[in-house]
Amino acid sequence: MVAPLKSLAVAALASTMLATTTLGALAGGVLRLDEVAVGEIDPAIASDYADSILMFNIYDTLVLPIQGGPGHAPHLAKSWEGDGTTFTFKLRDDVKFVSGNTMTAEDVVFSLDRMKAVGKGLSYLFANVDKAEAIDPTTVKFTLKTTYAPFVASLVRLPIVDKKVVMENLGEGEGEMKDWGTAYLTAHSAGTGAYKIVSHNPQEETVMEKNPDYFLGIPDPAPDTARLRYGLEAATVRTLIAQGEHDIASQWLPPEVIKALAGGGAQLLTESGTGAFYVKMNTTKPPMDDVNCRLAFSEAFDYGAAIKMIAVTDTVSQGAPSTGAIPVGMFGANPADQVLKRDLDAAKQHLAACKYKPEDFTLEISWIAEVPLEERFALLMQANYAELGVKSEIRKMPWALFAEQVSKPENTPHMSQLFVNAVTGDPDTLLYGMYHSSAAGTWQSPEYLNDAEVDKQLDAGRTATTPEGREEAYSALNARLMEIAPTIYGYDRQAVFAASDRVKVPALSDPSKAFGLDGMGFTFRLMEVAD
């Protein structure tokens, strides 16, 4: 009974589609994807996954990660040299902004200054940069305050903005630079990117179209128009894809929904290797200040059930079993077959050695309201620890509240669940922010860890200039982190995107084309969309 009605509806749909010649002439060539709200297009404010997708398409950076391998390739820069403290880049001279202005060293300097002055988003990555100077129109020199080996990697997070356009559009504000153009740049783009903004509504949708003058040229099969929609419900995305009205779902769909989509013929795209799921314990709050209690909770965590929970199909999962503090594939990671397992007896022994008795405390387990999967992990832990005789209560926290609460150790819950990624792809940006004592009390570091050995190895990791030296430092770090267990290392994360088969995304389906950087797989110019 359903089938004829369905075809009727499809016919009705088709007739409305046919009628639409106003803008829909290029019905093919449109890419539709979604992310959580809101989309932020100001490079100095952009921070999350949705923002990253926008940045990688409407702006360019000096370098790009090499597809399928470690290291970085020239992009806006032609070449560079550096010694760990100063880095000099030669720029291309044939790159034009969407405005028609030529990109020069001035723009690079301005982009860095602006990033640091506005001070939001990922600007912390550049806190260590003392200054950038334009030596000549195609040469720019960065001077760091202290040696930082992976500096080149952080440049993938410095979108280059059009200085002239921004200066012409300064908004209200105090001082010479007024608002640094934030009012303008949160609504317009001023980049060199392969795509330019057609319309932008931070809560609803950003529409982008090909930039015909892109300096690398854009292959024909790449989408002509991209629509990044925000805040769609899981059920909506699921139906839109099934009805051919949507192309790539966000990674935040629950595994069951991705499973249902895969069952209906959707392809599964993946992105992995840069992050993990962590349950972070506040080491300043009893009973978590006793390492034996922390070890007990680590051992009692049901790693197997967690892996089962995130499985999408027999072959694809939202994660791989964890082997330790560092995800497999990064410097210092343990071998992939040394997976962590639940050991209830060990947990009981540790708990017995802990100076706090289970009847004397109630654990507070938080979960981030925006990530429904975490509620299930919270329930899993509650059940796991009930087996140890430990009481716990679950607290749902919206992201913004969580990020604020963890700024004080006494407000930070016993257990915080977090997905953390290396924002530049380098292990330093994953681990330093989580475990260095100087970085305590941010959303990544609700452990409030203060351990001299950890600090030492983290510093060694960012100053060592050879791969061997870094491997050694991070291996030692991994061992120490397993010993003092500030965190339950849940699983190595893999983002899974359900997609219709009219799109081809090599960077998210072929490991030899993967960028190893979150969100960069969504470089639209490298995708193909069938008409």
Binding site: A234, V257, I394
Partner: protein, 277 residues
Amino acid sequence: MKRTFAILTANPLSLLGLILVFVVVFSAVFADFIAPFPEHSGAVVDFANFNKAPEWPYIFGTDLVGRDLFSRILYAYRISLILGVVVLAIAVPIGVTIGLVAGYLGGRTEYLLMRMTDVFLSVPPLVLAMAIMGVLKPTLANGMLAVTAMWWPWYTRLVYNITRGEKEEGYVLAAEVIGASRAHIIFREILPNCVPAIVTKMTLDMGFVILIASSLSFLGLGVQPPTPDLGSMVADGAKYLPDSWWLTIFPGLAILVAVFGFNLIGDALRDILGAEQ
């Protein structure tokens, strides 16, 4: 009272209401005995049986961590009823008192009290409760507080209108003439005349409080897991439509049944005790 009950049972619709409310209250009170899996109202996970469509022994299916939905709905009724009773028990006396005082005293007191009431009434109720829940920790007690804060003004309005009419009536004037105290006139003379309207509204409101509370928890501002709550169940389940339809449909119907039952009785009471307005 007996007569009212007799009329209630005579009408098929109000009889249906009585039955529904009885079923809801009974399931809430005796959840421990009826629920096939009473432990599923708490911290239990069973990943061997998660996300199962309705089948024996899970007649309403299981949720995403393998808990029996039927058992959880029974326990959720408990929360809903407690919430409804407590909210009304606090909101009604407050609202009624303010309404009586404003209506009887008049003048500046009336103006001040009624404008204050208007302030509360002119924020859409759900928005007010959301704002309050946004400030507080989402617990059952705070949820009740938020709903109460938006509920009392309706009783003030209702009682105020009645009082304004009643205070010109002969019996009130007579009491004033013989020098009865204000408190006596307000609570002993006027209040009894408001009771039928109040009772009717309370019965109807029992349903609406459940409804509003479920709306709050639908928005993520209700009681926290693992405590079962109908609104959150619908909200959480809606992500898994249409494949896991049982996650939303059964809790949704559960809300419908309870509210429908109270409304049927409230309707009948209104007919019996006289119009509300």
